[in-house]
Structure formats: structure tokens, C-alpha cells
């Protein structure tokens, strides 16, 4: 039996920190196992005559990607316009507003499009994944899969992971293009620049490396959103209240993980 901590508050604090640390390590371990099992089923499933369902991947791709295009485009266009307006306003103080395109292209491709897409997908699809899995868990649907000899990771997690890995970078690319295009409308009107000159400056300021930087990060975000959604969904306790709790937690954790991972990625990539 675990020893009860004494009544003193420092000991209780130490115990709480210990429990939280163990919980965090367990969560990372769970993520690792899930990722490993998903990769296993994606690669070895066909050989074992238990392939990942392409129909489910296609359905998830529609949910995660295609249906999200309007909102991603709207927010990306808004961000692009804000960057253009703010950039010109700030640079005008130094008489350098013509340089706005250089900063705009790189910041959109390396950061803004990636972050806005990641956060949107976390809020939209990460929460949906957590809610779906937690509801299935409560309704014993995941137990039903197990007893039917259907591995839940192959049936539920691998299709979601594949769909996210394909659609989050694709959405990020859509976001990049939309933000740059929307910014271009304002820049060309405000600075009297032609569209050809604007795009030419964008292409000369953004390298292929910048594009890979952005798309690479979006793939990492896709993995994080999926794993956090799944782990939270599977850990549900209680009824409808539990579903609400894990859904909220999944969104908060996903967005936090995206921002922290972005900071680490940028730090490493710019050394």
C-alpha cells in the first residue's frame, strides 16, 4: 500500500509534483506506444491481411481537410491582410514600406500559415477526435472492437493519423497561398505595386527551405494533434461531462503543444 504523506504541506507539494511528473512521463509513453502501433499497422497491416481502411482515411481527409478549407482560407486571408496593413504602417515610419513584401512572405510561410492552420485543426478536428473516441469508450464501442478482433489503433487511430499527416500540410499550403494572395491585394493597392512585381518579390524572398520548414512543422503538428486527441479521448471517465472535459483538455493541450513545439523547432532550425 502506498505510504500516505504526512499532513505537512511541503511533503504534499512534493507528492503532487511527483504524481504530476509520473503522469507526464506516462502520457509521453502512451503517445510513443500509440505512434509506434499506428506506424506498425500502416506499414505491416496489408501483410497481416488487416490493412488500414482506405475508406476511413478518405472520410477523415474530407473532415480534417476539405471541409476546413473555407474557414482556413477566411482566417488566413485575414491574417495576410493584417500583416500587410500592420507591416506597411510600421515600416512607413522609416520610409521602408516597399520592403514589406520581404518580411511578409517569409513570416507567412515559416510561421503564420503553419500556426493558424495548426490551431484551427486542433480546435476543429482534434476536439472532434477526442469527443468521438471518448463517446465510443463510454458506449463500450472500443471494447466491442477489441472482442471482435479489430485492433482499435488500426481501426480508429491509424486512419486519423494518416489523414492528418496528409491534410494538415495540404491545408497549410492553402493557408500560405491565401494569406499571401490577400496580403498582395492590399500591398498592390496601397503601394501601387503591380501583381507581377509583388509575386516576383515574394518568390525571391521565400526559399524552398522556408517552404519545407513550414510544411515540416505542420506534419509535426498533425502528429501532436492526433496523439493528444486520442490519448485524451481514451482516458475519459464518467458520462457526457467526461466527454466535455476531455474534449476541452485535448484542445488546450494541442494548442499548447503546437506553440511549444513551434518555439523548439524555430530555435533548433535557426541555430
Amino acid at each position: 500500500m502506498a505510504a500516505e504523506p504526512s499532513g505537512s504541506s511541503p511533503l504534499r507539494s512534493v507528492e503532487r509534483i511527483g504524481r504530476q511528473t509520473i503522469g507526464a512521463v506516462e502520457a509521453f509513453g502512451h503517445w510513443g506506444v500509440l505512434l509506434g502501433q499506428s506506424v506498425f499497422w500502416i506499414l505491416a497491416g496489408p501483410k497481416l491481411k488487416q490493412p488500414v481502411r482506405t475508406g476511413a482515411v478518405a472520410t477523415q481527409m474530407m473532415e480534417v481537410g476539405i471541409y476546413a478549407i473555407p474557414i482556413v482560407a477566411l482566417l488566413s486571408a485575414s491574417i495576410g491582410l493584417v500583416l500587410a496593413i500592420q507591416g506597411i504602417h510600421s515600416l512607413r515610419a522609416f520610409g521602408a514600406e516597399s520592403q514589406v513584401v520581404l518580411g511578409l512572405g517569409r513570416s507567412v510561410v515559416r510561421e503564420f500559415a503553419v500556426l493558424i492552420t495548426g490551431i484551427l485543426v486542433a480546435g476543429r478536428s482534434g476536439s472532434a477526435l477526442a469527443a468521438r473516441l471518448s463517446t465510443m469508450q463510454i458506449n463500450q464501442e472500443i471494447d466491442a472492437l477489441r472482442v471482435m478482433g479489430i485492433h482499435p489503433v488500426r481501426y480508429l487511430v491509424a486512419p486519423a493519423l494518416l489523414a492528418m499527416l496528409i491534410m494538415v500540410p495540404a491545408l497549410t499550403f492553402v493557408s500560405m497561398m491565401t494569406a499571401i494572395y490577400a496580403a498582395g491585394i492590399f500591398v498592390t493597392l496601397d503601394l501601387g505595386l503591380s501583381q507581377e512585381a509583388y509575386w516576383s518579390q515574394i518568390l525571391s524572398s521565400v526559399t524552398v527551405g522556408d517552404l519545407w520548414h513550414g510544411l515540416g512543422k505542420s506534419a509535426i503538428f498533425a502528429v501532436l494533434i492526433t496523439l493528444i486527441g486520442v490519448v485524451n479521448g481514451a482516458s475519459v471517465q464518467g458520462g457526457a461531462e467526461g466527454v466535455g472535459r476531455v474534449t476541452t483538455r485535448a484542445v488546450v493541450q494541442s494548442i499548447s503543444a503546437i506553440l511549444v513545439a513551434d518555439m523548439l523547432f524555430v530555435f533548433i532550425a535557426t541555430r
Binding site: Q140, D143, R146
Partner: protein
């Protein structure tokens, strides 16, 4: 040796000295029981007796602390994921809640095990699905969503999904819980019909006495993680065991104690005997 050979003449299920803990609490205290091929075994007990935990172990949804479970001659603890998937083709489970997938129609739910385990064309699967829905009296309901079914119909649809691969063993978790007596009785009849028509071993976990006595070939009575008695309906009914009589008469343990014993039970302090008159 294949599974069919192993199971011939042997037990369909053989549980030996099963012990399980949740944290420090011992839930199953060395459970031993067997289910013969073609028999209906009812596992009965009150709330907290460990019957649901036992069921989850039989379905390999939980791992015991110690002991062994053999299903159709195979020790489930030693099976790989792929071997477990193979064994699962010979097992059907009807969960208490039905556990139908809410995003699929009733027909798709019933066809799911077929679609996942066999390379059958859609038409063949549909024929098999309609046959099984017919067995549970749900003809024509294949296009409805689970949310459009009543409680009894959900249980029957779950039963159809459980038997779609003609399993050797069927597990039913609280099949008549939450149903009115007429629908519950119809489900009991269905279980008997399935045993007679398909010759499968059936394990039913329930706390409904009427249902248990109606369908059981043998009953295992669980109480606080122990098996009190495993026997036929008559053996259970005629048992002198006080705890079994409490369960049969729907009495709580407290009600069966006399006042002094009850006070002692609550306070832990021995009550002195009353002075003789």
C-alpha cells in the same frame, strides 16, 4: 492440433484460480469454473460481486493478477495479437449497452466483423446480415441507425452482430437489464433458441433471477469475488448457503443479520449478550 480438436469433449471455457486486484483491493479471489460445450452458464451475483470484472477477463479486456483462462483450449494469456484476432472469430459478445457503432446503420454494424475478417463480396455479406437480423426478429431494420431503435431492439441488434460469424461461444452481458418483463422474456427465449439452433456455449452475466432460472443449464453464484456455488438451477434453489439464500430472496447482508450482529457489523464493537431472563 487445431482449435476444433482441442475443444472437442473438453471445456469451452476453463478458468483456473483467477485472481485480480484493482489497486490494493482484491476483486476476484481465486475463481475456478468451467463452461461445457453447448451449455448456458449464467454468472449471477449482486452489485460489486465481481461478475462484470470476471466477464472482462473472459473477454481478454483485462489482465488478471494471476491464474489462467482457457478459451476453446487456448490459454488466452499466451496468445499474440494475431492469434487473439483469430480466436475472436469464434467468440461473439453482446454488451449490456449494445455497443453498436452510432455512426453506422444496423446492417453495417452486423456486417462489420465479416468485413474485417473475411474477403466476402458485399452481396454475400448482406445476405448473411439479413439472415442474422431475421434470427433476432429484426427483419427490415438494417437501414436504421442505432439511435432509431428501442432498448430491446438495440440488444437484439447487438445479438445479431455477436452471432454473425456463427461463434462457438456467445457472451451476453446483462441481456435483460433495463428492459420491461415482456421484452426481457423474449430475449431469454432468443438465447435459448440460439443455443438450440446453433449449439453454441453461452455465458450470460446477469443479476435478474427470473431470467437466470429460465435460461441456465448451470449457474455460478459470485459474491465479493468468491464463487459461492456452481450448480444446476435446482442445486442453487435448494442450497442452504445463507449468502445464496440472501441473493435469491433479494435480501441485503445487513437485513440477514440480527440487531446485535448488525450493530456489531456497523461499529466493529462487540455487543455483550443480553442477560438471561
Amino acid at each position: 492440433m487445431n482449435v476444433n480438436d482441442q475443444a472437442t469433449g473438453a471445456f469451452a471455457i476453463d478458468v483456473h484460480d483467477l485472481v485480480t486486484h484493482y489497486g490494493d483491493r482484491m476483486i476476484l479471489k481465486g475463481v475456478d469454473f468451467q463452461v461445457k460445450p453447448g451449455e448456458i452458464m449464467v454468472i449471477m451475483g449482486g452489485s460489486g460481486s465481481g461478475k462484470s470484472t470476471l466477464m472482462r477477463h473472459l473477454l481478454s479486456l483485462e489482465t488478471p493478477t494471476s491464474g489462467s483462462i482457457e478459451i476453446l483450449g487456448q490459454d488466452v494469456a499466451s496468445l499474440s495479437t494475431i492469434e487473439k484476432a483469430e480466436l475472436s472469430k469464434k467468440i461473439g459478445v453482446a454488451f449490456q449497452s449494445g455497443a453498436l457503432f452510432s455512426s453506422m446503420t444496423v446492417g453495417e454494424n452486423v456486417m462489420l466483423p465479416l468485413a474485417e475478417h473475411f474477403k466476402l463480396d458485399k452481396q454475400t455479406m448482406q445476405i448473411m446480415m439479413r439472415m442474422k437480423l431475421g434470427v433476432v426478429d429484426l427483419d427490415g431494420f438494417e437501414d436504421l441507425m442505432p439511435s432509431e431503435l428501442s432498448g430491446g431492439m438495440i440488444k437484439r441488434a447487438a445479438m445479431a452482430r455477436a452471432i454473425v460469424m456463427d461463434p462457438r461461444i456467445l457472451f451476453c452481458d446483462e441481456p435483460s437489464a433495463g428492459l420491461d418483463p415482456v421484452v426481457a422474456s423474449a430475449l431469454d427465449d432468443l438465447i435459448l433458441r440460439l443455443r438450440d439452433a446453433m449449439g453454441m456455449s453461452i455465458v450470460v452475466v446477469t443479476h435478474e433471477l427470473d431470467s437466470a432460472f429460465k435460461i441456465a443449464d448451470r449457474i455460478t453464484v459470485l459474491d465479493k469475488g468468491d464463487i459461492l456455488l456452481c450448480g444446476t438451477v435446482d442445486e442453487i434453489r435448494n442450497s442452504n448457503n445463507e449468502r445464496i439464500q440472501n441473493i435469491l430472496n433479494r435480501r441485503t447482508e445487513e437485513e440477514s443479520l440480527d440487531h446485535d450482529e448488525y450493530l456489531e457489523h456497523l461499529t466493529g464493537i462487540e455487543v455483550p449478550p443480553s442477560p438471561a431472563m
